[in-house]
């Protein structure tokens, strides 16, 4: 049986950016777009060119993708031609292969929000879509408030869609803009729309999660015949978010009848990177990943109930709807039992440390991790610090050098041009091979910009470590994450540092302290010690 193509359209960079508190920079947008492209999305909506400098810069700087990069905008305004509408012109100027325009499909909004006649609105849709097509681009029409509009005035909602299709739109996207429609209504209305002659393979669905049904509404629309599905990574989006592609993709790929009926751009290989893509987005947003997220959450395959955990050991399918590896996730069984120790041994093996089953060090390592996590540490991502902790318990951690003391000074004052400037300076005192060494560095980079106290500290620490300095020369910081968390009863700062060296490998280390500089210093120290242990190894 030939499977039908189901198109996936991502709007993380546009509707996802409507999430309260989310503001992507241009480099972040590019990073996300590349990840979406690797994942296998068919369309990537990049933003609204002309609406703000970040979106415009993104389209200027975005490299070629396999996915169709799409610019978003709105249908031309009444009283001018499509060619003379400056807002539309800015959208066209982004030069994308596909252009998606939102326009009203609900009569009430045409007369109330826009204050124009119903016919003028249809003409705006028609002329705008025709303008895109005339320029050789692919046109999409987002039928705003389609479902509410259809319930009030089905003829007008359909007329808006037909105006776009007749003008050459490749897709008409049925939008539940307010997010209030329920799955059963979506199924019924899409059925009627297709019954009225609109072709399902030219229809898309765009839903919001205001009743926690965005995923279900999307699936109901696919069941009823639409062939393009819009959503966002991690369900970002205006108000309660958009349909969550991180959930929909594995469901479409792994569950019946979808797996047999449809061909989607995401393959099994890409699917196994889904958890990582989801975490990457949280990292960019500096959000704590949602533990309970379907498929990709840290708790999605955690088996807390005692009855469940013991059955899982016999056969994972007893309490798992899919195998966690398929989406790049992992099973969690409480550390306290036997399964906890085998999990730990697997992780140690990954770090190149082989420990016999039943070795008492395993229980000691588990206990120490538990105590540290209680203090605010987190070893989920900080694999480097995890390895050092384990090595310490196993007696396999050399003491390369000893830090005697350090001191960081941050000053802000007027410079000789009467401008406020800041400068940090760090002094580090270490003992290497029995010899005491003092180093000092400042935070100014080549351009004269203050890069801050952690930068100064990192430079001073690696500057003079005797025979080790050479080894550390190719190492640099690639990311620095700070989170305020709870350690015991007091708020503490958790710093996670990602480092990289010339072999291209990356490692993460963690530090915790009420003092952010001290937490950073601890993570830096771990990063250096990890590098010294592994410096001879190829990637």
């Amino acid at each position: 049986m030939t499977r039908e193509k189901l198109y996936l359209y991502d709007t993380t960079l546009r509707d996802g950016q409507q999430t309260q508190g989310v503001q992507f920079s241009t480099p972040e947008k590019i990073q996300i777009a590349k990840a979406l492209d690797v994942l296998g999305l068919d369309y990537i909506e990049g933003g609204w060119p002309g609406a703000n400098p970040t979106d415009s810069a993104f389209f200027d700087e975005m490299p070629k993708t396999r996915a169709r990069l799409t610019a978003f905008g709105m249908t031309k305004r009444a009283g001018r031609s499509a060619a003379n509408d400056d807002v539309l012109a800015a959208v066209m100027n982004a030069g994308t292969q596909s252009v998606c325009l939102v326009g009203k499909a609900h009569d009430y909004h045409v007369t109330t929000a826009l204050g124009i006649t119903l016919d003028e609105n249809l003409e705006n849709i028609r002329a705008s879509i025709a303008h895109i097509v005339a320029q050789g681009r692919e046109a999409l029409y987002d039928a705003e408030h389609f479902f509410d509009g259809y319930k009030d005035n089905p003829d007008y909602a359909l007329a808006a869609c037909r105006a776009a299709l007749e003008a050459g739109a490749r897709w008409v996207v049925l939008c539940d803009t307010n997010g209030g429609v329920l799955p059963s209504e979506v199924g019924r209305i899409v059925g009627e729309v297709i019954g009225a002659g609109l072709p399902g393979d030219h229809l898309g669905i765009h839903t919001h999660n205001d009743t926690e049904n965005a995923v279900a509404c999307s699936m109901a629309a696919v069941d009823a015949g639409v062939r393009q599905l819009q959503g966002t990574l991690n369900g970002l989006g205006e108000r309660c978010g958009n349909a969550n592609l991180t959930t929909l993709i594995p469901t479409l790929l792994l569950k019946q009848p979808y797996a047999s009926l449809f061909e989607i751009g995401v393959g099994r290989d890409a699917l196994s990177g889904l958890t990582q893509v989801s975490r990457m987005l949280d990292d960019i947003l500096n959000r704590v990943p949602m533990r309970q997220a379907p498929y990709v959450g840290a708790s999605a395959f955690a088996h807390k109930a005692g009855l469940h955990a013991s059955a899982i050991l016999k056969d994972p399918s007893t309490y798992e709807h899919i195998a966690p590896e398929l989406v790049g996730n992992a099973r969690i069984i409480p550390m306290s039992n036997q399964a906890g120790q085998s999990n730990l041994r697997r992780r140690l093996t990954e770090a190149g440390l082989s420990v016999e089953k039943g070795d008492p060090a395993l229980a000691r390592i588990l206990e120490r991790i538990k105590v540290r996590e209680d203090e605010g540490y987190s070893y989920d991502t900080a694999q480097g610090s995890f390895e050092l902790l384990a090595r310490d318990e196993l007696g396999q951690l050399p003491e390369f050098f000893e830090v005697k003391r350090y001191k960081v000074t941050i000053e802000r004052r007027k410079n000789k041009y009467n401008k406020m400037v800041s400068l940090s300076e760090a002094v580090v005192v270490v003992k290497v091979d029995g010899e005491k060494r003092l180093s000092v560095s400042e935070s100014m980079d080549e351009t004269g910009t203050d890069r801050g106290p952690v930068n100064a500290l990192a430079k001073a620490l690696t500057k003079d470590l005797g025979r080790y300095s050479q080894v550390l020369a190719d190492m640099h910081l690639v990311d620095f994450k700070v989170r305020i968390t709870q350690g015991g009863t007091e708020a503490v700062t958790r710093v996670i540092i990602d480092s990289e060296d010339a072999t291209g490998r990356r490692w993460s280390t963690v530090g915790v302290s009420p003092n952010i500089i001290d937490a950073s210093f601890e993570a830096l120290l771990d990063a250096i010690r990890w590098k010294l242990i592994h410096h001879g190894e190829a990637r």
Copy 2:
């Protein structure tokens, strides 16, 4: 038309406690149960008496409720009578009016996980339910893995349900234990079950959110005829959680066809306390409430898109599916680079700044926000800094004092007991009323713990501001958020500080710099300036 009764069954205290990281104390369980009772739930499942001390204590101490308090357990084991099963006896001893027992409905689990015959399992269900009924209690049977079981062996799954009904069970609850079933399957299977003669008004539905469809599956089951719905507050529960009652309740009460078809225990009055109940649970769990949560999330009625915000001002129903007041929530129009002038004016009004439509200052403020957001600032949540920026453009920002310079020193060294300790010290120089003032503070708190450089800086800054120090005495930091973001092409640090004063009001301010101490200082300064402007006002 008479509305049919739809029963609501809460399992926050039992299945909700299976959430990773959740462990309620007995007083917390009592507090939650009381809130559920006020809300109008029909059943409150309190836990598994005998399984742990907290659950047993809860049933001992729980006061009378209007809702039926229900004890949870499992069907008796094979090879002994119901009366002689000690696990079942502990459940009965809790003395509740209703008792719910989970038992297998999937043939594979009977033979694999339990290792008994299919007939033995049916007998265990029958005898256990009959035992409950014989003691004058109401009996419920949770048909574990019902949907997976029905797909594999429908006759056996139905036989398990019939065994419970024939033995006198008031309810048979169809459970999707692994959470993998989709809404369309639930609809079809429940239809077949009722078609096979099982009465819908004796059937319940219990779903999990592993495909983000727990709410949709519950509604599909109600559509198909079940009349009891199980779930948890805020969707707590094993793995990805249970069906979210915080979402289902307003949907059933406010949306068609449910509002016309069904009578539920929750009334309009109780509904208006829903947001508060949801936040109370997060408070108990010390969780940050999920902003994007449907109905009750802080972002559920936040309108970030400029086009949306201006229409909302004309008529809220243009972009809201229900009025936020109905669930005790509130509308938010945040600031962002996508916001229009009407959005801005509304937000200025909220800050007590009235600006005429068309005032050129509006365009200047928007422009400055855009530039600042490009640098890494974010004004969505930092309402305090937004107001200061606007006041500055409007010429309504007094210069209370001038910061001439500051210096922070962070030192880590061995103390006299040869233990590594850290200490921070901050010196701030300000000019107030023409007079220069130097202040110094250190980061040690009363317990001798180093609270870090930002703490020292905050103390030094407020220590001696002349006539202003008195005003600032009741102000303190309540939260401190740090994220590394992109400002232009370089990584910068964004710090958001939440402050509070004796009136109980809170305000948020933001600072951005490559230097984390400097970013913190900027946010601190804004926090102080905001307080000085508003110090005379009541909350």
